[in-house]
Amino acid sequence: MKTIKILFLLSTIVSTIGCSDLEENPVGILAPESFFSSLDDLQVAVNGTYGRVGHEDIWGRKFTLTIMVRGDMVDIGDPTTAQRRIDHNDFTVLSDNGMIDDFWPAMYQTIAAANQAIAGAELLDADEAEENEIIAQAYFMRAFTYFHMVRLFGDIPYLDTPVTDIQTASSIGSTPTTEVYENIIADLEFAETWLPNTQTTRTLPAKATATSYLSLVYLTIGNYQMAYNKAKEVIDNEGTYQLGLESNFQDLFDSSKQDASQEPLFAIDFQAIRNINQSDDGTDYAPPLTGIRSDEQYDLGGGWSVAVPSLEVFDTWDDRDYRKTVSFDATGIFNGIVEPYTVFTDFNTRAVNRPHIAKYTRFIGATANGNGRASETNYATMRYAEVLLIAAEALNEINGGSEEAHQYVNRVRARARNGSDFPADASGLSQDDFRTMVLEERRLELAFEFKRWYDIARRKMGTEVFGSTGFEGQKANFDVGRDYLLPIPNEEVLRNPNLSQNDGY
């Protein structure tokens, strides 16, 4: 009997635990089908786009460093830095460039996150207006990302829905540049319609963000009337949108003051936080890339002297311009002693004897990793000053040398003076002179803010700025037929031969 009992007991155990439908019930894993149940979930899906842009692959380093060194304002410092960086500076980029290989997928991951959020709204049974206000952010982020991509690569694969059929999506052709721009404009118009006038923070896009980006998009494609209209719309409603110029230019780059500033239209937020696995989520590398090697002045452990403007950029910038003071560090502290830039290499052979960029090291708050990595900086992707300059540049093309255009520039210059008498107000310039002046103003006002390359490409200034009189001297490899666009990653073209590679690569 005892035996039978034991066997019975064992077989009971077996039948209790041994029956399963083998269905996977993932815990702690997110499945798209079950994810969207509230507006909050929709916002979480939208937040994925911000998270992705805040990764090292995009705003943290790969993308921002790429367009920084491609321009004429930032040169390579440490000559032993990775070749993939030098190739952008020297226009020797090949189609397997490691910088592009990293930010290309990350950009599309941002777009996929936006697409997923937009599609997620359809799975929700919520008030449409409330839904639209949230997914308008996703529309904005999709446009924001495609706008970068189309300027960098021209014709690109364009997807605006989540991918479910991998095979079909893997063989689409490139969408022509003009069509991409049409889509970007449509997305921004949706965003403009549904985003609120103001958000609680500039790290979320508001109505004026979409409108301002529309003006920049129009400026880029040469539709100056619309560029002006959109910029004017923002300027006319600056009160409603709570926009204005920060009174002290330095405060724009002070992490403790950025949150309260009325100037940014949209900012990528970094908060000195890293994942426990020390991944590059939320990690900005601009501080170490631009910082001075072995410099003690900000107690960051020194930077890496990778992205350092040529001496010409510093020397040609009028010392009286307060923005120069904010933008540069011409001294460092070594062994407790302040030393001029002319002896930086004495303290570290990988430094360079040039003034270094100060915008991303001077007031960056806490850092979560050595050399200033993972700071608390907010990176404004557009500031109100730029909107004023867009309005000025566009208006000048419509109505050469107009007084109104001068006024926009002078608002920016007034702040730059910071109590001094330089730069003086502009006045009475011809259309051509104004155009030159406003592009110069953009160069200085927005120095090192990842804008200059796009201006060079949009205005086709390469031959001039990379010629022998350019800041970085003759760039022998610069090719106008090739270098305004980057190569689409070669592996991507191999994976989908229907994609067209850009000329010269």
């Binding site: 066997l7 077996v14 993932p26 997110l30 992705r52 599309y108 999506a169 949150d259 052979t349």
Partner: protein
């Protein structure tokens, strides 16, 4: 021995003769075994032609009354019977030899056991004495060189507590792991017990043997059987070992003066530092292991038991690295009734590892910043531990890194692992020949890792004010198996049938938390709230359930023809919805030719058997939830706050399935001269299909975080040949000599990749700028080295035919082969098009040879083990040639305009650290793995002390290594890498030598006492 002794005890109860007779006298003596030199109880001692006899007692002693001229017969099952004529002596000690023909070795197979002679598959068996020949940290290490076709390597040299990698018959996968399934006393997926507790290890190599484990069998199955108690008196065993360990060698590096001169060649502004430090000397010490085992076993008629406790401690040869472990094991079996047997196996262990960082993961400061072994090579020798300000030095050249001494002594990396396992069984004989066995087991493994980097490590954690992370992993497994075994003889047929059902559930839970910015460096990781900045905590959960049915048929006709057929059906939760179950069949035949009439009486050929098998096994390979569409959380920050944020991670893949291996095995076993010589040869061919490959053909613009989705596409082939030869060269009363030799070769070929496109992998340290280091290419072995072919030093002027340099090179730089394009034109400059296959890490063959000698009470074991023909890429040498670190003394012979006849290029910065054939070397080695000398104190001495046996031994491990490899040790492994691809795994990125914990040489003293 189990059986022999049990039977002997029965015999001693049955026979109870009292000899008597006239004119007779008393003969006494001891019967011992030639092989083990231990007394044999229960030997029948009989005077031929009479009914008078005796039986040896527990100490092998007998007393019998004899007359001169009597012939006394000593017999015992499994031993060769001896007849000795008495000629007046009063003492007669006899040593008896095992009769290999009669002794039927029992081999454990899945869900049962078989006579070795009945096995039709390919099974290697390693017994307890081989496993305990020298002390090992992990019983798996004791398998190295012991079984043909089984390759064992430490994941990290001689690191205390390092994991061990076992590979059976090559790597049958690319992305899935190639680790065999470990089954301990029937518990699938258990951890290895302690070596002294193991009775035997069987390695199931071919599909016939392993298909009974279905979707988990394709990497082979390692069956571990722990010791059981046996009927008889209580036996107490004490084993104590102590060893002293040292590194095998050091690299010759520049001293401070040489280093400063070298750096000044690169940078005239370099100022020599104040010290002269040999970082290797600072880092290494003399290490030790102590291993103490206490066990007792015994049994009555109905219950037998075995219990042991073991304490192992190792102090590594790198300062501050330690490992300590306590293990308990207990096996109890009870014969409740004639028909019912119950039993329980219990196992528990606690391991505590204090680690120092080795094998750079590239995830810390600047990538590769905290790996003490490579830093000891890299770090400037002209710096001391502390600088003039009294803080830890950081390197004066290259990337900023902390000095290795500071990292080793100030950081904490402590891993505590608890393993508990309980397995109950009930075995009931329903009918004669029909048994039902049910088992129920539970195991849990809890691991806690604490990591602390104080702010005094300026680069690693200085800027963040110290960093502490604590992480936990809990694995739980529940298993229930039920099977019927039926055995019946029908005439000349002997049939065994097995049918069963199995259910197993494995769960894994993880969590971690961390903080930075500690006000004090005294907190270690035990006060995370003392940090000013919290790191994002993590946690995860996954669960896999497997339901299986399995069956086996063994048919034996007349002990001549054997047939084995198995099948297993696995349904598993991690398989995708469209493929949720899989069937794995196998079949094998055997022909015992030696039992045929024409060979039966052949005195030379004592055994000859042919074996052939074919079958399918699987590799689960798919991780839980891998086939589902998923989101991934990312770090989103809005308005300075962390917010929930997700991005699409992967699309659903409802067709994902296991990898399948189709294996053919042909072998034969030959025994000559009473099996004095026994030889096994096996040939196998394994086609593995449906390999899970990351489909890199999926464009990245699709926007999934996992840029390449996993699909069942690839095919890989392994074929090989194995030889096992065991000979008993000399078997005399006082002297025996036996030799065990095994040799195996495996050829691995990648057959199919996605679209036939080469797959490049990167296994270099994160801070190396080389990106493609290993290649998967159809028609080549998996993971061959990819790089530039070095052709010597460029002497200036015209380039030698077929060579070129990188752009901008000058005399003294490196020359490489300039590979012509498809039109046959070489472009005259070296670029990425000039890379080629420059090495293959897979050895041509591996072997092990053991010689055992016994002379009276002395035993000697000499074990050589080796691997021939595998290449090693010496990444350490690449670093030491790059100019941004210290250099090996080879650099003193660098090219200069006056020293042109050299293979070493000029002193220059080569910070890209690319892989070239200059750094690929032949890693062939032959190693004296173990030499052990033992002495058993004669019984006559020990028995007075009431001790059965005392054996003392001295042994040495890794005392000699024959190799031409210029690095520290050719048995290198560098798996950890933050390389750009992150595409590293043990299958495809082997053969790199960089920063791994050094292999150690040890001298060991042991004592074994049995009461």
């Amino acid at each position: 021995m189990n059986h022999k002794i049990t039977i002997a005890l029965l015999l001693s109860l049955l026979y109870h003769f009292i000899s008597y007779g006239q004119e007779s006298y008393e003969l006494t003596g001891t019967v011992t075994s030639i092989e083990t030199n231990t007394p044999i109880p229960g030997v029948s001692v009989l005077i031929i032609g009479t009914s008078s006899g005796s039986v040896t007692d527990f100490d092998g002693k007998y007393t019998i009354n004899v007359n001169s001229g009597d012939v006394v017969q000593f017999s015992y099952i499994g031993l060769i019977t001896k007849n000795i004529t008495i000629s007046g002596q009063t003492t007669l000690n006899v040593s008896m030899e095992e009769d290999s023909e009669a002794l039927e070795e029992i081999v454990v197979v899945g869900y049962g056991s078989q006579r070795k002679s009945d096995v039709t598959g390919s099974v290697s068996s390693v017994k307890s004495d081989e496993l305990t020949a020298f002390p090992v940290l992990n019983a798996a290490q004791a398998l190295q060189g012991r079984a043909a076709g089984v390759v064992v390597q430490s994941n990290n040299g001689g690191e205390p507590g390092s994991a061990v990698n076992i590979q059976v018959r090559g790597n049958t996968s690319i992305n899935a792991n190639s680790d065999p399934l470990i089954v301990v006393d029937g518990f699938v997926g258990a951890v290895f017990p302690q070596a002294n507790d193991i009775e035997s290890i069987e390695v199931l190599k071919d599909a016939s043997a392993s298909a009974i484990y279905g979707s988990r069998g394709s990497n082979g199955v390692v069956l571990v059987t722990t010791k059981k108690g046996r009927k008889g008196k209580l036996s107490i065993d004490i084993n104590s070992n102590y060893s002293v360990q040292n590194i095998t060698n050091e690299l010759d590096l520049l001293n401070a003066d040489q280093f400063a001169a070298y750096q000044q060649e690169l940078n005239p502004a370099y100022v020599q530092g104040p010290a002269n430090t040999d970082w290797q000397d600072l880092l290494y010490r003399s290490g030790s292991t102590s291993d103490h085992q206490f066990s007792f076993s015994g049994g009555s008629d109905n219950i037998n038991f075995y219990a042991s406790a073991n304490y192992f401690k190792q102090e590594g040869v790198i300062i501050n690295s330690e490992f300590e472990r306590v293990t308990f094991l207990s096996n109890i079996d009870a014969q409740m009734t004639d028909k019912l047997k119950l039993g329980i196996n219990l196992f528990g262990s606690r391991g505590a590892q204090d680690g120092v960082p080795t094998q750079s993961t590239g995830q810390t400061a600047n990538g590769g910043g905290d790996d003490v072994v490579s830093l000891a090579f890299r770090f400037a020798p002209d710096l001391g531990i502390l600088n003039e300000n009294g803080v830890n030095t950081i390197n004066s050249v290259g990337d900023d890194v902390d000095n290795p001494f500071a990292i080793a002594t100030e950081g904490i990396n402590e891993t505590k692992t608890d393993n508990y396992r309980a397995n109950l069984y009930a075995d009931y004989e329903i009918l004669n020949g029909l048994n039902f066995k049910t088992t129920f087991g539970f195991s849990t493994r809890n691991q806690t890792n604490g990591l602390f980097r104080p702010s005094t490590l300026r680069i690693t954690a200085g800027d963040v004010g110290g960093r502490a992370i604590i992480s936990n992993v809990r694995n739980t497994s529940v298993i229930s198996e039920n099977y019927l075994t039926y055995n019946k003889e029908f005439g000349k047929f002997d049939l065994t049938l097995l049918a069963g059902y199995s259910y197993q559930k494995n769960t894994t839970e993880t969590s971690s938390a961390g903080a930075e910015g500690f006000v004090s460096n005294t907190f270690s990781f035990f006060n995370l709230s003392g940090g000013t900045t919290a790191l994002t905590p993590t946690s995860s959960f996954s669960e896999i359930e497997i339901q299986s049915q399995f069956g086996r048929l063994n048919l034996d006709y007349d002990d001549r023809y054997l047939l084995t057929a198995t099948v297993r059906r696995d349904a598993s939760s991690n398989f995708a919805v469209n493929n949720q179950s899989a069937i794995f069949p196998s079949a094998a035949i055997g022909w015992k030719i030696s039992n045929e009439s024409f060979l039966k009486d052949n005195s030379t050929i004592s055994n000859l058997k042919l074996r052939a098998s074919y079958g399918v096994t699987g590799n689960q390979a798919i991780s839980a939830y891998q086939s589902l569409a998923r989101f991934q959380t990312v770090l989103g920050i809005i308005n300075g706050n962390v917010v929930g944020a997700v991005v699409p991670d992967q699309a659903a893949n409802p067709d994902l399935q296991w990898e399948s291996s189709y294996q053919t095995n042909i072998g034969f076993d030959l025994g000559l001269i009473n099996n004095r010589i026994s030889l096994s040869l096996d040939y196998y061919n394994i086609d593995t299909e449906d390999l899970l490959l990351a489909d890199a053909s999926q464009p990245e613009y699709l926007g999934f975080l996992t840029t390449a989705s996993i699909r069942n596409i690839g095919e890989i082939n392994n074929k090989g040949f194995e030889i096992s030869l065991n000979t008993r060269n000399i078997v005399k009363d006082n002297f025996t000599w036996t030799t065990d030799f095994n040799w195996s070769t495996n050829t691995n070929t990648v057959e199919t990749l996605i679209g036939g496109i080469d797959v490049f992998l990167d296994a270099s340290p994160g801070y190396f700028n080389t990106e493609n280091t290993h290649l998967l290419r159809e028609g080549e072995a998996a993971g061959v080295f990819w790089g530039y072919e070095y052709r010597g030093v460029y002497q200036g002027g015209d380039l030698p035919e077929g060579t070129a340099t990188f752009a901008g090179a000058q005399a003294g730089d490196q020359l490489f082969t300039d590979i012509p394009d498809e039109n046959g034109t070489a472009d005259g400059v070296i670029n990425t098009d000039d890379q080629k296959i420059i090495g293959d890490p897979t050895p041509d063959f591996t072997f092990g040879i053991t010689n055992n000698f016994t002379y009276k009470n002395i035993d000697l074991n000499i074990f050589f083990q080796g691997a021939v023909g595998g290449d090693v890429a010496n990444l350490t040498a690449i670093q030491l040639d790059a100019g941004d670190s210290n250099a090996s003394t080879d650099i003193l012979n660098a090219w200069t305009p006056t020293n042109t006849n050299t293979d070493v290029p000029r002193v220059a910065l080569r910070t890209e650290k690319i892989l070239t054939s200059r750094f690929v070397e032949d890693g062939t080695y032959v190693r004296l793995k173990n030499i052990a000398l033992g002495y058993t104190i004669p019984n006559t001495v020990t028995e007075k002390m009431g001790i059965d046996k005392v054996r003392v031994s001295v042994s040495g491990q890794n005392l000699l290594t024959f190799t031409d490899y210029s690095g520290l040790d050719p048995e290198a492994s560098f798996f950890g890498s933050g390389g750009s691809g992150g595409s590293t795994n043990a299958n495809t990125t082997r053969g790199f030598d960089f920063g791994n914990y050094p292999t150690v040489r040890s001298v060991n003293f042991g004592i074994n006492v049995t009461f």
